[in-house]
Amino acid sequence: MSELIDENKEQVTENNGMSRRQFMTGVGGVGVGVVLGGMVTTGVLGKDDIYAIAASDGYLLVDSKKCSGCMSCMLACSLMHHGQTNLSLSRIQIVQDSTEAYPNDLHIYQCHQCPFPSCVEACPTGAMHADPKTGVRTVDDEKCIGCERCINACPYTPSRVQWNPIDKHAQKCDLCTNTPNWNNKEEGMLACVEACSTRALELTKEIPMQTGLGYDVDLGHTSVAWQTFGIISE
């Protein structure tokens, strides 16, 4: 797969004169869904030589204005995946500046399950891949050689791919497809969503808009809960 990606990278750039990021940006969320929906393989070359891999079945939306900064999502994520509450092992990151003004006092950084995942592309062994069943971008621990190319390839800051220093491999949000410490998990449940104290997180099957704040949206419920005490949320 990695070879395909490398070859494709050249083809796309050379044949169309447009980078993949430009392509994704230009098409937008709806377009991507049309292009990628229903694919079950991890990477193909289309008729027009555009490389693509299967869309993820799900995406994590956040409402950063509604987040309370309690970090329960981070603690739940790490606990269900690793059996310990550990902010550094959480695949969602809440970063806060307590003396800053709302709403800039807090940011949520979650994996976008990118329709065109740089992390997958960067992996030399196929460890970082799109799961054939769900499309979620995830890591095969056994194949990871610890080169950290995926971590550096993630276009976002902080990188949504992280190094697990305990088990010595890269990891990222797998939409809870592999939570060995969550015995009674039901299909579609995410640890972070379940633990969230304000409903600031939500799983969607629709591919979010790839530009702007497509992943950080108004998830509702705000006014009822907050205005009891006069808090106004936009």
Binding site: T85, S98, P158, W163, A195, A225, T228
Partner: protein
Amino acid sequence: MANGYIGKILTIDLTTQEVGEIETAKYESWGGGEGMAAAIYWDLAEDKTLTDGTDPRNIIQIMTSPLTGTFAPSAGGRVRVSYVGLWGWPVGYLTGSLIGGRLGSMIKFAGWDGVVITGKSETPVWINVIQDKVTFENATDLWDLDTWETQEFIWSDVMERELGEWNYLGTGRDDGRTTQRPAIITTGPSAEKYGPWSALIHDAGQAAGQGGSGGVFASKNLKALSIYGTGGVEIADPTGLMEARQWVRGFSASGNLDDLKTTAMSVPMGSSQGVAAVGYPEGMKARVHGCSGCIRNCKGRTERKMGNESRCLDFLWYSSFDMAAHKGAKTDAVLVGCDQVQRLGINSYPMMSTVLWLKALYENGILGVGKQIESSLPYDLIGEEEFAVALTEAIAYNLDIGADLALGLWQCATKWGRLEEDVASGWLPLQASGYVHHYDARHETEWGWGNLFQERDHNMHDFNYFVFWAPTIWGLMGMEPEVSAERMAEIISSKMVPFNDDPNLIDHSDEGIYSDSMIKLVRWHTYYQKYYKESLVFCDYTYADFINPYGENMEGVTPKAEEWLTEAVTAKGEKFEDGIALGRKIYNLERAIWTLQGRHRDTEVYGEYNYNPSAAPFGLATYEAPYTVPMRIDGEWVYKSTNSRSLDKVKVEDFKTRYYAAEGWDETNGWPTRATLEELGLDYIADELESYGKLGA
């Protein structure tokens, strides 16, 4: 075995700059927090009779619990700071304060269950803990900085990359990375100048305030502790913890966002989120904010970054004065008041009583320019930003009367020759042990009893929500009670294991407040406080949850939640009543320490205003309203006003005698007896008390 504990406690000797470890297992039987700290204090204190909190031999401990660092709801983000305090009367007892935010969790993520600090540095320092590495940094240039400036400096010093990037805590690939900031606890500027008032502040508005923790830091030449880690907390039953959390959440606003209950009850667990917003001026945009792992989210951060993370008395100390000066509207003055106490690291709790006292002295011609007590603070501007700034800076920088106030309130009143008169009138309502009136012992009597027998204002609202707030609000609003007095008594009593066979525990009638049932309530409350609230660090703003609008038949999560959550984390098989028993053990250990510090029946006395029929009947705190409380009269439960009630000194003394007897203490002096200590497995403490001639007979 994964049980919530990390396994080691960090020890730091500021005198020698030596660093060491204590195995947590040695103290695990005390739970964590206050219990663990008291046990460690007993073992490490060079002189247990020490009462001067500024003595270099004082020990300051920042102790977590097995739940800290988890998402046990409204328990995972708290930590207890313990020390010999600077405020108490007649001496500074071993005391402490709880603090929220992310400090406790970060201590555990750095690989520690707690931090024990002894000795005194020769020069100003701040302590930098990164995982298992401890360094002592020069704090000379930080000494005069406020709490926010100090944290900004340390964050920029410790973090190699910007906030929001992965910071590497080492040079190797596997040394750990985090997007988070170090958690810092710090004093305000030159906190030795106002030690008894000085709180330790963490982030914008998390504080350990009672007893002058910041002053203890300053006395050790210690400005701040920064802690940074990338580890985790291993939990016995992750699925069980998730299940327990979700069950608890069903009783909270968090779990009922589509069907919020409107209730006049100031309930703990079931209250709406963002309760801090009651302190904001109208129209303020803000987010609700919660400590690590919380579901209650009682705090907030505002669009103008004023009042961030403040709550309750941070606002209340000035809000009523602000509103009085502005036709009933809250203005930025209240937020300025918040930020002043947070930035200067001043304990907000005594501030309201201080303003009321100064206002009374000023309006009666005793205080002011050319008056008996000379002062040029702008008293005509009480309620305006200018006065909030002037008063807080007077205390922090010893300006005007600030040098006297900074001694502490009972010390200041003594210096001014006004202690006796002003406490008797209620102008200066020192309720017990030198701490100001929080809730009224004459009416909500259980609050007062709890304070009388402990070393500080216990600040535990377990009964307060229901005994005072709910019936008082129903009465003020002319509402039909949402829970009848009989049902309230039934629910609360049923949850007070092992005293749950007594249906009269919350009887606040004129007879009930001195009854044997009330003794049981005070005992249960103290035991619950000592273990669940201050050792396992369940948040006071959420627990105990007796009555809950989301519960079946209005029943809250206590005691099931405490037991379930603890078991999911520790798998010790501990029942709720085991925790209550352990609370009694912790209380007796502390009682022994207080006894060695000079505590005696004769020093467990109420301020005279509680006995004085001519003192103001209520309203010694601006948030108080005429008290309506539950009581049983002629066999019938009712809610009834107690506004004309004063305490009876003879009955109070009789209550003390019976309370000491119920605790198994010497009735003549309130000291623990050998029989009681041996029953609790504290033989070694009995031996030491005896060696000092302070074992109860």
